[in-house]
Assembly symmetry: C2
């Protein structure tokens, strides 16, 4: 998929991409650096704790999803110019070593910029699903996109 | 600060810790792995783009904050058992190379577990502030904590 711009898709469009397998060494390596709680980095402590084994830092799962989003929707050939934030990040189920994740994203809303006619926001619900089709992470960001440089100032594709 | 447990602090308590300086090499290194958009990884493209230079991936800022939280509140000597998610993640200002961040966290609410009397949630508003006292990231998680093993089942410290 080429990188996307504001007008390329409408509300209701669904993106689906992945997979990526989250291996134990990466779970522990990420968590040692950014989230060194025992249930992310210490196999013995994790086995004795509430999760019964190592689980991925929720932020690691988010970062794995972000890489999928960038590889499939953003990068140098897209209109993506960042995000002001998210109204939800949740982790309904733990991610365990060896889990394979794919990502589903649905455009919930498109909000044209009030001050800048060349750009606007998408509100997207991204859900990471594991190999058993269980949601393991949900993220609802506003994504900020430029319109394609050749797009008309008032595009009929917006809402 | 020793690791914290559910009953240790009440609504309104404010934690403050840091600082940490976010250097360019780390910004680019993190983003190459998890968020390789041009304005995070490509100095020339970033200089020509909407931010006028490299900015940190918002997820990098979140991860830097998470490490501060774990180092100061969690780890093997705390009752922390994770988080089901956040109702807000926002980035009001960009983080640029050389910015020095500190973290402020205020307990907004304490919610005892309905099914498990040995644990409960804190809703916390964490804000990362830069060297100019500007908020650059805001996170509002539910943090799940056990009570201290020697705490009474119905603690007077809860709300």
């Amino acid at each position: 998929m080429a990188g996307v711009w504001y007008d390329d898709y409408d509300v209701g469009h669904v993106f689906e991409f992945g997979e990526v397998t989250v291996v134990k060494e990466e779970i522990i390596g990420f968590a040692r650096k950014y989230d060194p709680q025992p249930f992310h980095v210490d196999e013995e402590a994790a086995a004795a704790g509430v999760y019964g084994g190592i689980i991925a830092s929720g932020w690691h799962t988010v970062c794995v999803c972000m890489r999928l989003i960038v590889d499939n929707m953003m990068g140098s050939e897209s209109g993506s110019i960042g995000s002001p934030g998210l109204s939800e990040v949740s982790w309904p189920k733990p991610v365990r070593p060896g889990d394979t994740l794919r990502l589903r994203g649905e455009i919930l809303e498109k909000i044209p910029s009030k001050s800048k006619p060349d750009r606007g926001f998408w509100r997207v619900r991204f859900a990471a699903l594991n190999q058993d089709d269980e949601e393991v992470a949900v993220m609802v960001p506003l994504q900020y996109f430029l319109k394609r440089p050749d797009a008309p100032a008032e595009s009929s594709a917006g809402n």
